[in-house]
């Protein structure tokens, strides 16, 4: 028993180290980008819309007249202190600009993961139990489309149909502008506005999780231990939930982690189209404003989010499947 938890602890420790390596790599990428881009590093770190005096100030602040090793040291030191630079466009530190918007994006992301994982698994199980039925075929074709349709186009179509033509949901923003809600009504209003962005972002994830669940269920339903369980006289329900699903659900957990950065990428365009005030829309506006410090800051924060989600899914996986700890 004690040996078992030791395996788990060292496994988690290794995953945390790996996550730290990824974030460190992202910081190095940023540094290399600042120095490889056309134009002086100070100019990149100031953003395109700024004054020469401001550029000179940035040069002093980040030691850009020092040798390159010193600059790298200063950069890493500053970033790990939470100083991602200053946004000239917003007149505030990059960190505060991002932190103001990060909750809106987290709300979308957490809802999307829960919704897509539940719905994808349920639909996948249903399709695998009625394989090659009409329902299975409809779902499978839908999943194929879900993999091919880019999220910015599906967002526009969803907005056009459900907000513009049918008028069921608001088209833009996170709050009703004309009414001031308080208490529960305030949160319901946010959920009402979040519905279409969440639905749209779930599509890609849903398609991936559905396909995987279906394939993995079909694979396990024919395995010897299932045949044995049935031969023992175990009911279909027990076979399904205790034996097949438990094994089939493993790859689903790891795909939630590995595809998370894809869904975050979709958030950039989805938030832009629905006017959702999160870090995705911040990226889009910063591209137009050529506000490079914000873009680099978002890259780091987003990497942290991806690493955390991967860590959580790794740990859940290790709890369900003890074999992984000894690899």
């Amino acid at each position: 028993m004690s040996k078992d938890t030791g395996g788990l602890r060292s496994y988690i420790l290794r995953r945390i180290l790996y996550g730290a390596l990824v974030i460190f790599a992202v910081v190095i990428f940023n540094f290399l980008l600042i120095h490889s881009a056309p134009g002086s590093p100070a100019y990149i770190m100031a953003g395109e819309i700024s004054t020469p005096e401001y550029v000179a100030q940035i040069e002093r602040e980040w030691g850009l007249d020092q040798p390159i090793y010193t600059q790298l040291g200063v950069y890493i030191f500053q970033v790990f202190q939470g100083n991602f630079g200053h946004s000239y466009v917003y007149g505030a530190s990059v960190m505060s600009v991002i932190m103001e918007r990060v909750n809106a994006t987290l709300l979308l992301m957490i809802s999307v993961i829960i919704l897509a994982a539940l719905a994808g698994t349920i639909l996948g199980v249903i399709a695998s139990l009625k394989v090659h039925s009409v329902l299975d075929n409809v779902l499978s074709v839908g999943a194929l489309m879900g993999r091919a349709v880019p999220s910015f186009w599906s967002a526009q179509i969803v907005l056009l149909v459900f907000a513009v033509y049918l008028g069921w949901f608001p088209a833009q923003g996170m709050f009703s502008v004309r009414v001031q809600y308080t208490g529960l009504a305030y949160y319901l209003d946010i959920l009402y506005h979040a519905f279409l962005p969440i639905a749209n972002l779930s599509l890609v994830y849903l398609a991936i999780i559905f396909r995987l669940t279906r394939a993995s269920m079909l694979e396990h339903l024919n395995e010897d231990y299932i045949v044995t369980a049935r031969a023992k006289g175990l009911g279909e329900r027990a076979v399904l939930f205790k034996h097949t699903l438990r094994n089939a659900v493993l790859p689903i957990i790891s795909v939630v982690g590995s595809e998370f950065s894809l869904v975050l990428g979709g958030a950039v365009v989805t938030e832009t189209i629905f006017g959702w005030p999160g870090i995705g829309r911040l990226v889009a506006t910063s591209i137009y404003a050529r506000d490079y410090p914000v873009l680099m800051g978002v890259f780091i924060i987003v990497a942290v989010m991806v690493v955390v989600v991967n860590l959580v899914t790794d740990i859940i996986y290790a709890f369900i499947d003890p074999r992984i700890r000894y690899k």
Binding site: F29, N30, A37, F152, Q156, I273, I287, Y288, F299, V306
Partner: protein, 289 residues
């Protein structure tokens, strides 16, 4: 005589391959759409008499009609013409990125898997990192900082895709390395480069072809996403940019949104179908679930 019989063998195996491939009707449909897309891209000036850039030939925001089958946009340009010309940049970028990442990934993955050791460890760490970092955000940064041109987009997407190929090539090389034909080649004293490029790489090609086809699809999506965000060459007509221009006219002109999106989705879907079909045809023993 020997040459002739060699051609015969190739012909026969192609025929077998097609027999396997054509059992999958969706893959055949995908291939038909891909061929059509390539023809449209090549023959664009023959299909439409207009230029995608000339403004104000027609009335602005006209609904689809016999003259303008896909309607006109906010600057009076024919939408059909723009969709047709948009296929050029999508295919050019998709093919370039997929080829570049296939070549780099094949060489790096095969060398890394064959020799192992420290270099292999290093390359695996690099591909690990590339698997986890949010790649779309890095692509945005690369293009925003290096300049909004087609060459930069191709370069950025290739940098981001080669580790995916390298990873699967390496895994396959590891198992091929232990096969009897490799041991046999080594025992008769063949050089490492002979074993890698004459014995192992030909056995990796089917894997790389499938992966390259799927890579074309994902490069087309990312390119469209970048142009949607204004990170494409401003002088080129692309499907992603058409969708971002349509954003301001969602209420007035559904045709500006629908047709470019259908084009992107059809292109991506058919490359995916071809990739899946090739995979099944290369591994006919695997029963299709």
């Amino acid at each position: 005589m020997a040459l002739r019989s060699k051609f015969k063998t190739i012909g026969k195996s192609l025929k077998d391959f097609w027999w396997n491939y054509s059992r999958n009707k969706a893959a055949v449909l995908g291939l038909a759409v891909v061929i059509m897309l390539v023809l449209v891209a090549i023959a664009a000036p023959l299909i439409t008499p207009y230029s995608p850039l000339s403004v104000g030939i027609f009335q602005r925001l006209q609904a689809p009609s016999i003259v303008n089958i896909m309607g006109t946009d906010d600057l009076g340009r024919d939408m059909l013409c723009r969709v047709v010309y948009g296929s050029r940049i999508s295919l050019a970028i998709g093919l370039s990125v997929a080829l570049a990442s296939a070549c780099a990934g094949l060489v790096v993955g095969a060398l890394s898997g064959y020799f192992g050791g420290r270099i292999d460890d290093l390359i695996m760490r690099i591909t690990d990192v590339f698997q986890t970092i949010p790649r779309f955000f890095l692509a945005i940064l690369l293009v925003a900082l290096w300049g909004r041109s087609t060459v930069v987009v191709i370069f950025a997407l290739s940098v981001l895709s080669w580790p995916v190929t390298a990873r699967i090539v390496r895994a396959q090389t590891l198992s091929l390395r232990e096969m009897e034909f490799v041991t046999a080649a080594r025992s008769i004293g063949e050089s490492n480069s002979h074993i890698i490029f004459r014995e192992i790489v030909p056995n990796l090609l089917s894997l790389v072809i499938v992966n390259t086809t799927l890579m074309i699809a994902s490069a087309i999506v990312i390119e469209a996403g970048l142009s949607f965000l204004g990170l494409g060459d401003p002088s080129v007509t692309s499907w992603g940019r058409m969708l971002s221009e349509a954003q301001g006219f969602l209420r007035d002109a559904w045709w500006m949104v629908v047709f470019p999106g259908v084009a992107i989705s059809a292109a991506v879907l058919s490359f995916n179908l071809v990739g899946d079909g090739l995979n099944d045809a290369f591994n006919p023993k695997v029963e299709k679930i």
